[in-house]
């Protein structure tokens, strides 16, 4: 006689199996990466949000290991170790992270299932396939309505490219694209609304580097002036170069307020996909080659969705959405059910490259544990 606890576990297993077989749809290999991975190899490929909450352990030799916060990077590594190229995989297993402030003391363990598709043509077909299967898998688990939000990491970057600014500035804004508050703070600083006051000795130091032709030599001379010995791997050239860049930034004319507010307006875009596309095409920036390129990509993507029966009018396009995992570099999506995120995914061609390989990559993960808990509690149909 099974107890109530047994049948809850069995129900979850069945849900997970339905999700997996829907994702696999007969053409994916099931894999099971280790739950413990070497930190050096794998952890550094995640964004800072994930790294900050990773459960890290030390091994007997002083090396570091961590418990997987997500399976995409380990599966990608596994695929490359086998030779790379084309491949489709599904997986299921627990993922771990430390609690955020206010979530208590206990590390959080959740069940995930996912799909990764490697080596297919770099067009929207694989993206549409992954999104389609994710929606179908969610349907197999619950009848609740899926709220789909999509973005493209290329959109923000293209918008930044329409404004002329020093490379360093562009780079710093790009790094903060997924963090609206910090992005805004940086923009304010570059516009000059928030001029940072520097301590006088720092200001004087930068002044000297603003007009200097040989920053490495100047840095070396300053060390001698101050009787400071040079030590370590950072050369006087490294030190001088950075000071020269900081000086250039400080004395560079501020970002135009008009430019800043146009960038802000485009990044604030959040509308149903077809309306968002129309709006984008109507902006001045749409005539720039970079943005035109992205809008074309977004249009072709909408066509690919429609071809697999997903209505673009049913999803929101969010210009700020770049995905929190840090390795997404193109199409990205997130699915919420009843306000809770239950699935996410996108394209991450840059990751195989960073791991020493070379193939396209699109994937998604579903938090089966979250879904199952809510279905069991009767919160979801």
């Amino acid at each position: 006689m099974t107890s109530r606890a047994d049948s809850a576990i069995e129900a979850r297993d069945r849900m997970r199996d339905r999700v997996m077989s829907t994702l696999a749809d007969g053409d994916c290999e099931r894999v099971q990466p280790s739950l413990l991975q070497p930190a050096d190899d794998i952890l550094s490929h995640y964004g800072e949000e994930i790294r900050a909450r990773a459960c890290v352990l030390s091994d007997a030799h002083g090396g570091e290991l961590f418990l997987v916060p997500d399976y995409t990077v380990p599966v990608c590594r596994m695929h490359l170790d086998r030779g790379g190229g084309a491949g489709r995989y599904v997986y299921a297993g627990p993922v771990f992270r430390l609690p955020s402030p206010g979530q208590g003391e206990v590390p959080i363990e959740e069940e995930q299932a996912g799909i990764e598709v490697y080596g297919e043509a770099k067009d929207s077909k694989a993206e549409a396939l992954v999104l389609r299967r994710t929606l179908d898998a969610l349907n197999a688990a619950s009848d609740a309505k899926a709220e789909i939000s999509v973005g493209d990491a290329g959109l923000g970057a293209a918008v930044l490219d329409t404004v002329s600014m020093p490379g360093q500035r562009r780079e710093r804004l790009r790094r903060r694209m997924g963090q609206p508050a910090r992005f805004h703070e940086l923009m304010q600083r570059f516009v000059g609304v928030q001029t940072v006051e520097l301590p006088p000795d720092r200001e004087h130091l930068l002044e000297r580097f603003a007009t200097c032709e040989e920053p490495g030599e100047l840095a070396s001379a300053i060390l001698e002036e101050r009787g400071i010995p040079h030590l370590g791997q950072r050369t006087v050239e490294d030190i001088g170069a950075r000071l020269a860049t900081l000086a250039a930034e400080r004395y560079e004319p501020p970002l135009d307020v008009e430019d800043a507010s146009r960038i802000g307006a485009i990044l604030a875009l959040r509308k149903p996909y077809p309306l968002a596309l129309d709006w984008l095409k109507a902006q001045d920036e749409a005539s720039s080659p970079e943005v035109a390129g992205v809008t074309e990509t977004l249009e072709r993507r909408a066509e690919a969705f429609a071809e697999v029966g997903i209505d673009p009018a049913e999803m929101m396009l969010d210009a700020r959405f770049v995905g929190e995992l840090g390795y997404y570099d193109g199409f990205v999506f997130s699915i919420r059910v009843d306000g809770v995120q239950v699935a996410g995914g996108g394209r991450y061609d840059g990751l195989p490259r960073a791991l020493g390989g070379d193939c396209t990559a699109v994937g998604a993960a579903i938090w089966t544990g979250r879904l199952a808990a809510r279905v069991e509690d009767g919160e979801l149909p």
Partner: protein, 243 residues
């Protein structure tokens, strides 16, 4: 050993000040038997046995209940007993050993004045060299937690063997997280602290173990010792809080 076991620093920067405090309290530490033994007692307190250990060993002893009380720094407890409150009672500060655990970088990094500078520098370092900047420290857990919370760049925490401040000169690390009091040791090794780089303030405290085996008489012995120390510490002027 029967009676209350007090773990006491056998050497290092805390020992001379602990000796001075005990002397001020009128507590005379004697050795019964060989000078080479690590056991001592306090004249007039037969219920207290002193175990001489390195300050770094004290948190572990207290957590395992192998000593009833011990003298060590806030820094060592924070590093080795993150869940301190489960195994230790509220500590009694002893008005010595004030120091801070802080980041320090080479003085020749004239472009690095604060934590944001270090973060940016480390980020570029990784991009140009393909490896992470190394931070040498004996406070691995504290350093890692601090850097992960405050910096976007990734660092490699290198356990320091021997004096931490010598690591950059020896080419074992680019920067350090070390215990700093006057800053003279840093300067002597051509290092400097950075704005926003302070991780923790530390001082010496008397810690009491929750997990040790207590009896009424052992409790009484602790209370007697504790009130002696408390009285003397209270009488000391605030600026006698020596580094």
């Amino acid at each position: 050993m029967s009676g209350m076991i007090l773990a006491y620093p056998s050497k290092g920067r805390l020992k001379p000040h602990a000796d001075e405090l005990f002397a001020k309290c009128g507590l005379k530490i004697t050795s019964e038997g060989s000078e080479r033994s690590y056991q001592r007692s306090i004249a007039g307190m037969p219920d207290v046995q002193i175990l001489l250990v390195e300050a770094v060993a004290v948190p572990g002893l207290l957590a395992r209940g192998e000593a009833h009380a011990g003298i060590t720094g806030v820094d060592l407890v924070a590093e080795h007993l993150p869940d301190r409150d489960h195994v230790l009672e509220t500590p009694l500060p002893l008005a010595f050993g004030a120091a801070r655990i802080a980041l320090a970088v080479p003085q020749c990094w004239i472009d690095v004045a604060d934590l944001a500078d270090l973060d940016e520098t480390a980020f570029q370092y990784r991009r140009t060299r393909g490896r992470r900047m190394r931070i040498a420290t004996g406070f691995r857990r504290l350093a890692r937690q601090f850097l992960v919370e405050r910096c976007a760049a990734e660092f490699e925490i290198v356990p320091s063997r021997g004096p931490t401040e010598a690591a950059p000169l020896a080419g074992l690390a680019e920067a350090v997280v070390d215990i700093v009091s006057s800053g003279q040791t840093l300067a002597a090794n051509a290092l400097k602290p950075i704005e926003g780089g302070e991780i923790l303030k530390s001082e010496a405290c008397l810690y009491v173990s929750r997990t040790a085996e207590w009896s009424e008489s052992i409790r009484n012995a602790l209370d007697r010792l504790r009130s002696q120390l408390e009285e003397t510490v209270a009488e000391m002027p605030l600026d006698s809080h020596s580094p």
